[in-house]
C-alpha cells in the first residue's frame, strides 16, 4: 500500500490537466530587484510528481518581503512546548513575547479539575531596561521561586527571548540551581527569536529539550498491558483534533500513551518510552523526536495523516498493518466502515456543491499536505501549495534528507548525540519482521513529502510572500485559500474566502471522521456563502488579467 501517486488516477481520468504556469511565474518575479528575484526563483517550482524538482527551503527570509514566518521562540514555546498543560512555562524577556503567545494558537486543553493546568496563564519576567543593562538572572530566579510557591507544579520550563541571549543571562545555570533548590524538574530552552531562519529552529530546540528533560523519566504506576500502544507525535490539539483522533483510536483498541504535545501531561511524556510505535503527524516539528526515540528506545515510527476521512482510514490501516494482529485489523475495518457510513450523507451533499472547485494551501510545515486529503474527500483540487518553514524533505520526501546542505543557520542548532539506552533499548520488531512489513508496502521511518502527492504543473512556493500570494490568487481565482490569520484578511479583501488552517477560524476539530464532517460543512458554507455574492473580485474589473492568466481547469463533462 502506497500513500503517494494516488493523484494520478484522479488527475488523469476526471480532470483537465493544470496548465503550464511558467508565464505567470516570470511576471511574478519581475517586480523584484534582480538579486531578490534570483533568490526567490529557487523557492518556486512547477511540480512534476514523477520527477519531483528540488525546492530551496529553510533558508533566510529576505527582509521586507512580508513573510508569514515567525521566530525560533514561537516554534519552541508557541508550538511544541506550549500545549503541555501541567508544565509551568516562564518566558524570560520583555512582555510582548509572552503576551502574544498567550492562548493564541488554540491548542486546546480540557480543564479536568483533578489535573493542574496552566494553559490559561502567561508567565513572564517582563524585563525592563535596568535588567537589560545589569542582567536578568536575579529576576528569573525570583520568578521561578514565586511560580513554584504559587502552584507547586511538577516542573517548570524557562524560555529565552532575543535580548536574553545578547545580555548573556545563563538560563540553564539558573534552571539547574532552581532544580537543586526546589527539588522539582526545572529546565531552560535557549530559543532566542533570532536563532535559525524561522520557527523551525525552535521546533528542533524544543525536541532536544523534551527528549533530554522529559522523555523516559517516569515509570507508570501500573504497567501498560495493551500491546497496541502508541505515541501521537506532532499533534497539537488545535480545535480539539487530538480528542477526535483519540476517540477513533480508542474505538479501534489502540491506546495513546502520550500525544506530543496537544493536551499533554508532563507525566504522559515522561512515560512515552513505553509506546510500541510512534506515529508522526506534523513531520516538520517533531521528526527529530521520532528519530531520537527510535535510536534510544527502539520505537519505530511511521508517518500518518489523520486529516481527511479517507486519509484517516488509510492511517488506521497502516497502524494495524504494523501491529500485524488479525483481531486489531478486524476492529479497525469495522470502525472505518461505521465511521464512513455515518459520514456518507454530509460528504455526498457537500461534494455535490464543491466538486471541481479549486483550493490553495499555504501553511506551516506539514499542514498543506494534510489538508489536500480533506479537499480530496469532497473532490476539490489543491492546485498550489507551500510551506512557511518546511525543509526540503517536507516537500520532496525523506529520500533527499541526507543530501540537504547544512548552512550556518542550521549548524547553530544543537544536534543531540543519541545512543541506544543500555537498559531500556528494546527493538519492537525484528529485522525480519521489518523486512516483511516493508515488502508489503509499509514504509517505516520515511515520509514521502508533499510534492509526489500533488498534480503535475501545480505551483509550489516556499515561504510565500504577500506579493506572490496575490499573484497566485489572480492566476487561479481559487474558490478557497487556506492560510493563517496574518494573510486571511488580505485574501478576503481580494474576494476569496480564506480558511485559517492554523487556528481553524475558531472552529474544529477537523481531524478524524467527525472533524472531516465539520470541515466539509465549513468549507461549503464559506464557498457558497450568500454574503460573498456581494463582493466583486479584483479581476472582474480587469479584463486584461482575465485574458492573460485565466486558467480555470474545469471538470470534464461526462
Amino acid at each position: 500500500m502506497s500513500d503517494s501517486k494516488d493523484n494520478t488516477q484522479t488527475a488523469g481520468s476526471a480532470l483537465i490537466p493544470l496548465p503550464d504556469p511558467s508565464p505567470v511565474l516570470k511576471e511574478m518575479l519581475d517586480i523584484y530587484p534582480p538579486k531578490v528575484a534570483r533568490k526567490r526563483a529557487k523557492h518556486i517550482r512547477v511540480n512534476d510528481p514523477h520527477d519531483v524538482p528540488e525546492v530551496e527551503a529553510n533558508v533566510r527570509t529576505i527582509p521586507g518581503i512580508i513573510t508569514q514566518r515567525g521566530c525560533c521562540y514561537a516554534g519552541c514555546k508557541g508550538v511544541v512546548i506550549g500545549p503541555i498543560k501541567d508544565l509551568v512555562q516562564i518566558v524570560h524577556g520583555p512582555i510582548g513575547c509572552s503576551y502574544y503567545a498567550w492562548g493564541t494558537r488554540r491548542n486546546l486543553a480540557n480543564q479536568d479539575p483533578s489535573v493542574e493546568s496552566y494553559m490559561p496563564y502567561c508567565f513572564s519576567t517582563d524585563l525592563t531596561e535596568d535588567e537589560i543593562i545589569f542582567g536578568g538572572e536575579k529576576k528569573l530566579r525570583a520568578a521561578i521561586q514565586e511560580a513554584y510557591e504559587l502552584f507547586h507544579p511538577k516542573a517548570i520550563a524557562v524560555f529565552s527571548t532575543c535580548p536574553v541571549g545578547l545580555i548573556g543571562d545563563d538560563v540553564h545555570a539558573v534552571a539547574r540551581q532552581a532544580k537543586a533548590d526546589l527539588g522539582i524538574n526545572v529546565f531552560g530552552f535557549s530559543c532566542e527569536g533570532y536563532k535559525g531562519v524561522s520557527q523551525s529552529a525552535g521546533h528542533h530546540i524544543a525536541n532536544n529539550g523534551v527528549f533530554k528533560n522529559m522523555v523516559g523519566i517516569k515509570e507508570p504506576e501500573t504497567p501498560f498491558t495493551n500491546p497496541f500502544r502508541i505515541n501521537v507525535l506532532g499533534e497539537y490539539n488545535i480545535g480539539g483534533d487530538a480528542w477526535e483522533i483519540e476517540r477513533v483510536l480508542t474505538r479501534c483498541g489502540i491506546e495513546v500513551v502520550a500525544t506530543f504535545s496537544g493536551n499533554a501531561l508532563y507525566d504522559q511524556i515522561g512515560q512515552s518510552h513505553h509506546a510500541n510505535l510512534n506515529v508522526v503527524m506534523c513531520h516538520r516539528s517533531i521528526n527529530y523526536m521520532a528519530e531520537m526515540m527510535e535510536t534510544k528506545f527502539g520505537i519505530p515510527w511511521i508517518k500518518v495523516n489523520f486529516i481527511g476521512a479517507d486519509s484517516m482510514s488509510k492511517s488506521l490501516r497502516k497502524i494495524a498493518q504494523y501491529f500485524d494482529d488479525a483481531g486489531l485489523s478486524e476492529r479497525v475495518e469495522a470502525v472505518i466502515a461505521e465511521e464512513l457510513s455515518a459520514l456518507k450523507a454530509v460528504r455526498e451533499d457537500v461534494t455535490r456543491r464543491c466538486s471541481g472547485k479549486l483550493a490553495l494551501c499555504y501553511a506551516g510545515g506539514s499542514r498543506s499536505h494534510h489538508w489536500r486529503e480533506l479537499f480530496k474527500d469532497i473532490e476539490m483540487r489543491l492546485v498550489s501549495a507551500g510551506y512557511e518553514f518546511a525543509h526540503r524533505d517536507d516537500y520532496e520526501g525523506s529520500r533527499v534528507a541526507s543530501s540537504i546542505k547544512v548552512d550556518a543557520d542550521s549548524r547553530n542548532i544543537e544536534e543531540l548525540a543519541v545512543e541506544a539506552d543500555p537498559e531500556r533499548y528494546r527493538p519492537r520488531k525484528t529485522q525480519e519482521q521489518v523486512a516483511v512489513l516493508e515488502e508489503n508496502g509499509l514504509k517505516l521511518a520515511t515520509y514521502d513529502g508533499m510534492m509526489p502527492d500533488m498534480e503535475a504543473n501545480a505551483i509550489v512556493i516556499d515561504d510565500i510572500s504577500h506579493h506572490e500570494m496575490e499573484k497566485m490568487i489572480e492566476f487561479y481565482k481559487p474558490d478557497i485559500f487556506c492560510s493563517g490569520i496574518k494573510d486571511k484578511f488580505v485574501i478576503e479583501k481580494m474576494g476569496v474566502p480564506c480558511k485559517q488552517i492554523h487556528s481553524y477560524d475558531y472552529g474544529g476539530p477537523y481531524a478524524g471522521y467527525k472533524g472531516a464532517a465539520n470541515f466539509y460543512r465549513d468549507i461549503d458554507t464559506m464557498i457558497n456563502s450568500s454574503a460573498r455574492r456581494f463582493l466583486k473580485a479584483p479581476w472582474e474589473s480587469q479584463p486584461e488579467l482575465q485574458a492573460n492568466f485565466a486558467v480555470r481547469p474545469e471538470k470534464k463533462k461526462g
Partner: protein
C-alpha cells in the same frame, strides 16, 4: 485609595503589550505609511497576528528579519534591503521604522542608517523614513504609540506659516472613536489635524479592487501643518511632557497645549466641547446638544439599575481614567482601577475625574493582581478588554468589553467609547448587562424588567 505597583518578579497574565505593537498602530494612522519593525521577524509576525485578531483587517508589517549573525554584527544591511523591498512593492509615502528590544540591545543607530540609505539613493525618489525608538523592555504599547506620535511630529511638523485650527492627539482609541471625534471637531467648522487616524486603514470597507495600503490616515500635509496651528488638544491625563508630541509643539513651535482626559462620559466630553467652543467662538451644534440631552435622559431612566453597583475597570491608563469618570457620574462605585501601565499618574487622574470615589488604584498590575484584589472587592461588573474574561469567568462577574484587545467578540474596532454618543452606548450596555444578569438569576423568569 491605595496605590501600589506589583512587587512580583513574575508577571502573571499581563495587562499590557509591548511598545512596537503600539508603534505599529500609530504608523497605520498616517496616510500611505508602511510600518516596519527593525528586529527579529517574530516581532512583526506576532504583532501582526495580534492586531489582526482585534481589527480583523489586513495589517502588513515589514521586518528586517534578524538572524544569528545580524544580532552580532548589526542589522544595517538587513534594514536597507528591507526598506528597498518595501519601497518597491508598496510604494509607500513613508516607512515608519520602530525598533525592538533586540535592535536596541545591540545599539542600532537608526537615524544614521537611514541617513546613509537615503544618501545612497543620490537624490532618486524614495519614501520618507521615520525612525522611532521603541524597545519592548521600556514601557507598554501605549508608550510605543505615543513615541511614534511624538517622533512623527518632531520629524514632520515643519510648517512655518500659521495656518490656524487645532491639533488633536487622541491616543490609542478605537476606529469608531476616531470617526466620531472627526464628526465632533468637524461640527465646529475648524481646520484640524487628527494624529494618528487609522479609522479607515484599520477598518476599511470592502472594495472591488484590493489596495495593499488602504486609503485613509492623517496626511503628511496635515502633519506638516501641526506646527502652524492655534492649539493642540491632547487627550491624556497620564502622558509625561517629555513623551508628548503636544508638549514638543508647545515648546518648539509655540502651539499652546490643552490637556484633557479621554472624553468618556458627560463631564469629560463637556470639557472637550467647551474647549472647542472656546477656541472657535462657536456654540456646540444642535445634534451634539441633542445627544447630550438624550444621554442625561437615559442616565435618569437607567439609574435604578446601576446606582451603587460595584465596578472594576482595567486596561490602558487613560481609558481606565475615562471609564472611571463615566461610572462615577452614573452612580456606580468604582472599586478597582487597574492598568499594566505605570506612568505614576493614574491615581491622580482618578482623583481628578472621580473625586468622591475611593477605588483601589493599581499601576503596573497584571491579571493575577487584579484577580486577587477582586476576590475581596466582589464587584458586580467588570469593564475592560478580552483578557479579563478568565477573571470574570472565575469570579462569576459579567464583563462589558472595552478597549484593546477584543478577540472574543466581533467588532472591537467599532466599539465607540468617546463623546456623548460613546457614553450612551457604554451606558446602555452596562445597564443591559446588569439587567440580563438579574433576569438570568431570577427564579421567576420576568420578561418585564
Amino acid at each position: 485609595m491605595t496605590e501600589n505597583s506589583s512587587a512580583s518578579a513574575v508577571t502573571t497574565n499581563a495587562c499590557k503589550q509591548c511598545a512596537p505593537l503600539g508603534a505599529t498602530v500609530a504608523f497605520k494612522g498616517i496616510e500611505g505609511a508602511m510600518p516596519f519593525i527593525h528586529g527579529g521577524q517574530g516581532c512583526a509576525t506576532y504583532i501582526r497576528r495580534y492586531l489582526i485578531s482585534h481589527f480583523k483587517e489586513p495589517v502588513d508589517v515589514a521586518s528586517s528579519s534578524f538572524s544569528d549573525d545580524t544580532a552580532i554584527f548589526g542589522g544595517e544591511s538587513n534594514l536597507r534591503v528591507g526598506l528597498d523591498n518595501v519601497a518597491r512593492k508598496y510604494a509607500p509615502s513613508l516607512i515608519g521604522v520602530s525598533t525592538t528590544c533586540l535592535a536596541e540591545t545591540i545599539g542600532e543607530n537608526l537615524p544614521a542608517i537611514m541617513r546613509r540609505h537615503l544618501e545612497s539613493k543620490q537624490g532618486a525618489a524614495f519614501p520618507l523614513l521615520a525612525p522611532v525608538s521603541t524597545p519592548s523592555y521600556r514601557g507598554t504599547h501605549v508608550d510605543g504609540f505615543n513615541a511614534v506620535v511624538r517622533a512623527v511630529i518632531e520629524q514632520r511638523a515643519s510648517a512655518s506659516d500659521r495656518c490656524g485650527g487645532v491639533n488633536v492627539l487622541p491616543g490609542f482609541v478605537s476606529c469608531a472613536d476616531l470617526r466620531h471625534l472627526k464628526e465632533i471637531i468637524g461640527s465646529f467648522d475648524i481646520p484640524y489635524t487628527l494624529l494618528p487616524d487609522y479609522s479607515d486603514t484599520l477598518d476599511a470597507p470592502t472594495q472591488s479592487d484590493y489596495v495593499p495600503l488602504a486609503d485613509g490616515g492623517t496626511t503628511l500635509a496635515e502633519i506638516a501643518a501641526m506646527a502652524g496651528r492655534d492649539a493642540t488638544i491632547q487627550m491624556s491625563r497620564t502622558l509625561a511632557p517629555e513623551a508628548s508630541g503636544g508638549s514638543w509643539l508647545a515648546e518648539n513651535r509655540g502651539v499652546p497645549l490643552h490637556t484633557l482626559g479621554l472624553p468618556i462620559g458627560i463631564r469629560e466630553t463637556d470639557r472637550l466641547v467647551d474647549l472647542l467652543s472656546g477656541l472657535t467662538g462657536r456654540d456646540a451644534t444642535k445634534w451634539l446638544i441633542g445627544e447630550r440631552g438624550r444621554l442625561i435622559d437615559a442616565y435618569i431612566d437607567g439609574h435604578k439599575y446601576v446606582f451603587e453597583k460595584k465596578v472594576a475597570i482595567y486596561g490602558e491608563e487613560d481609558l481606565v481614567a475615562g471609564l472611571t469618570s463615566l461610572v462615577a457620574e452614573i452612580g456606580m462605585t468604582p472599586v478597582l482601577c487597574a492598568s499594566g501601565g505605570a506612568s505614576g499618574k493614574l491615581a491622580a487622574a482618578i482623583r481628578s475625574v472621580a473625586p468622591n470615589c475611593t477605588p483601589v488604584v493599581r499601576e503596573g498590575a497584571d491579571f493575577k493582581a487584579i484577580t486577587d484584589e477582586l476576590r475581596a472587592l466582589k464587584p458586580d461588573l467588570m469593564i475592560g478588554n478580552s483578557k479579563g474574561y478568565k477573571t470574570a469567568r472565575e469570579l462569576g462577574v459579567p464583563l462589558v468589553r472595552a478597549g484593546f484587545p477584543i478577540h472574543d467578540r466581533i467588532g472591537g474596532s467599532r466599539l465607540l467609547h468617546l463623546g456623548y454618543r460613546g457614553a450612551q452606548r457604554l451606558f446602555d450596555e452596562i445597564v443591559n448587562t446588569l439587567i440580563a444578569r438579574t433576569q438570568d438569576e431570577s427564579p421567576v423568569g420576568y420578561s418585564y424588567m
